[in-house]
Symmetry: C2
Subunit: 465 residues, 2 copies
């Protein structure tokens, strides 16, 4: 595999230029105005796959945004790795907060800057270029399939149906995903847990139109006051979620497991500095790593109501709403949690307002088996590239489709991500280190080789080639 | 005065057309883009005053939007009435909620529709046209001064300085204001109480940028969650405001006073229907009329934070903010209440966030003396036009400058408004009844006559004219 690694080092700047073509496409799945950009981005990926050595590549329709699919089958007897990634990106937020334009990528200070630089165009692209390196060097050890979707940031809702429909096409031995990060630059890790998600939207309606807050204030329920009170009551003074039954299915880690987790190197000061807070906050009795890794959380992702423009306006709004998502841990079920939330929220609302609760999307939490050949191959690859044995990491994030893959395709996933906590994914000024980009490709090449060597029938007589 | 009333009836449709010129000017004081419209609107008023019979009229500068001033002095020995009104209007809110365009006034179903139709262009205009009727009929009994400002909807902050600067010019016996409503079409009333106001803005800052709610959720304080909790805690389960000391200066009405107030005809069902709510809500132990008339209130006028666009975005926002106004009653002091609010809010905020509290504007509550000659003249005029004795009414609204006039100019105000609760002032589809427009002008003509007759020296030898 050394030729492939040499190839990567020699071609890295060209790879970055090619990635820029994709980063320039504003493929924001949350905003319907960008629908044509989703098609464009999927097309770009297929062209890139073909140019990089795929036998076939195709923009395949789904109920929503298309999937960019490609493959190269070197030998049906060899293991098949299905690479999953996504080409859709988060909205940019306030463009004024970006130092350079979100869709005009640049390299600065050894990093690629732009929306999607890491999540997940940058990380997904590493797989295509590692593939190219192996193909061009004549060192591709496995069959490779690529599936890039366009709805990950909005819940992957069309991909479930796509997988159901294309079970044969997607047959593989393992799914390989780079859509996560590592604990720190000196602490390589492999993500072995992901939180699930239940994303809700609540709308409280008071008067049937905006009314004068002087004339009506004090006698007509204000939906913004009520929303604040209801949302505020969803967590208690110990940072615990107050929805009855919410914690019923949470797997509590044993004292031993928590002690093991406590060995993860973690600097609270560095963490606080990275997000600019004086103090961390969360569920009483748990550390920061536990709070994001093995405990659920409830966050208001957005709230609005009434007049939020310049100056003042003395009104009682007609409606106020909030987007609220809950991160779930094994064995919480997102359907059940969504229902508990909706029932509770409707129950605590006063009769002076109307309440509407919508379930927007959800995903199950995921646990990676840490003794499988694929996981061991991943450990070996990371250790070789980073000169350090990676730690298992329980991520606070969610990739809901990962548990979907297990359910529909019967396939486990290896979460081999190379992001860092300074990458500001989902935030303004997203970036991805050139170093991580290179290390990622080298690790991927090694993974395929080690994985192929670990397959059960390796060393047996090769079938006719 | 009968000739004047005849004149009003004959010229009403022309008056409406003239009013439309002013309603077409989008003089929204809260939005700085409309600065030139403020000048235009003041100019329109001065031209109208001159055309209606004023001796002089002038657009006069202030620290902010200009004042349109005009006057006609018939005899220095006669009483002088200073008419106050405002030409600025509220923002329109969502234009899609308007049946016709807010700044393209129309007459439909016997009503004038458009932003400012009532508040306060329509009501202010009645005074100019009642004045024209008296001048053209040779029946003007008093000296008249007009002062229309352009910042009432944003707190009248420049008018205080203007009054300080022009005390001589503004000398008068009484201030007459039409910027309020009546209890109902069959229940004429005169506003004898106004609530005060303390308008605050709070901003809660968590992480120094938007961060991923999966990776950080549960360990980093979410400013939108915190804001909801803090704002929600400002009122308790009995609808009482929880800020320590908030009620200290509130004048509690006696059982007799409350019994008197309880005689005001009021239909709870009609009230609920007018704003489209199933139930009213507010401070326990008080009626709807009491809750808006003699009790303070705290309303969220606007709240925002995080992602409020289409679809979903999984972030912890960096900041969340709310505009919160408190309606005050005698003898609450808005400076003191603003400080109590700020101290309390900062005190209850957790150390995991930063909190910024701004005082945006305030105004003192006002009580009208119900035995003065001007108040008695107003009662007489309303009773004559509406064939019913008007009730005293404690309005929930605020006109902060009214108590400012008393302090700076030493003048009481008569709040002789003709609005109705179906006028939807501050809301989409604001309107004003043509009937109210006419009744208003007729009442105003009568007021001037009765007030002139009630002046202390009336009946004494007239000075040389």
């Amino acid at each position: 595999m050394e030729k492939s690694i040499q190839y990567i080092r020699e071609n890295q700047s060209r790879f970055v230029e090619e990635l820029f073509e994709g980063l320039r496409i504003p493929s924001i799945s949350a905003e319907s105005a960008h629908k044509p950009d989703m098609e464009r981005c999927a097309g770009w990926l297929c062209r890139t796959l073909l140019a990089s050595g795929a036998d076939r590549a195709e923009v395949m329709p789904t109920a929503g945004n298309p999937v960019a699919y490609g493959e190269k089958i070197v030998d049906p007897a060899r293991p098949t790795v299905l690479v999953y990634g996504h080409y859709d990106v988060m909205p940019t937020g306030d463009p004024a907060l970006w130092e350079t334009q979100p869709f005009e990528p640049v390299v600065r200070d050894g990093r690629i800057w732009g929306r999607g630089a890491n999540d997940d165009k940058g990380q997904g692209f590493m797989h295509i270029k590692a593939f190219e390196a192996m193909v061009r060097s004549g060192e591709l050890p496995c069959n490779l399939k690529f599936m890039f979707e366009g709805e990950e940031e909005i819940g992957s809702s069309s991909l479930y149906g796509f997988c159901e429909q294309h079970k044969e096409l997607l047959k593989a031995d393992i799914i390989l995903v780079s859509d996560t990060g590592m604990i720190g630059p000196d602490t390589p890790s492999i993500t072995c847990g992901l939180r699930g998600l239940a994303y809700m939207e609540v709308t409280v309606t008071g008067p049937d139109k905006e009314v004068h807050s002087g004339l009506f204030g004090g006698a007509v329920a204000n939906p913004a006051n009520v929303l604040a009170k209801l949302v505020g009551s969803l967590t208690d003074e110990n940072g615990r979620i107050t929805i009855p039954g919410f914690y019923s299915d949470v797997i509590e880690f044993t004292a031993e497991e928590r002690a093991e987790l406590g060995k993860t190197p973690f600097c609270e000061e560095r963490y606080k500095k990275s997000v600019g807070v004086r103090e961390t906050a969360g569920e009483a009795g748990y550390s920061t790593i536990e709070r994001t890794g093995i405990r659920p959380a409830l966050d208001v992702n957005g709230i609005r109501g009434g007049y939020t423009g310049e100056g003042t306006k003395t009104i009682i709004p007609s409606t106020a709403s909030a987007k609220i998502s809950m991160r779930l841990v094994p064995n919480q079920d997102f359907h059940k949690i969504g229902k508990l939330f909706a029932d509770h929220f409707s129950k605590i609302a006063p009769r002076s307002v109307k309440v509407d609760v919508k379930f927007l999307h959800g995903g199950a939490p995921y646990l990676s088996p840490t003794s499988s050949p694929a996981y061991l191959a991943a450990i070996q690859a990371v250790e070789k590239v980073f000169s350090k044995k990676p730690l298992p990491f329980y991520s606070g994030g969610s990739i809901p489709i990962i548990s979907g893959f297990e359910k529909i395709l019967g396939l486990k996933s290896i979460l081999l991500g190379f992001g860092s906590d300074i990458d500001a994914i989902h935030s303004p000024n997203e970036s991805y280190g050139l170093e991580n980009f290179r290390e990622g490709m080298e690790t991927i090449v090694r993974f395929h080789h080690y994985f192929e060597k670990r397959r059960p029938n390796h060393g047996a007589a090769e079938p006719n080639l």
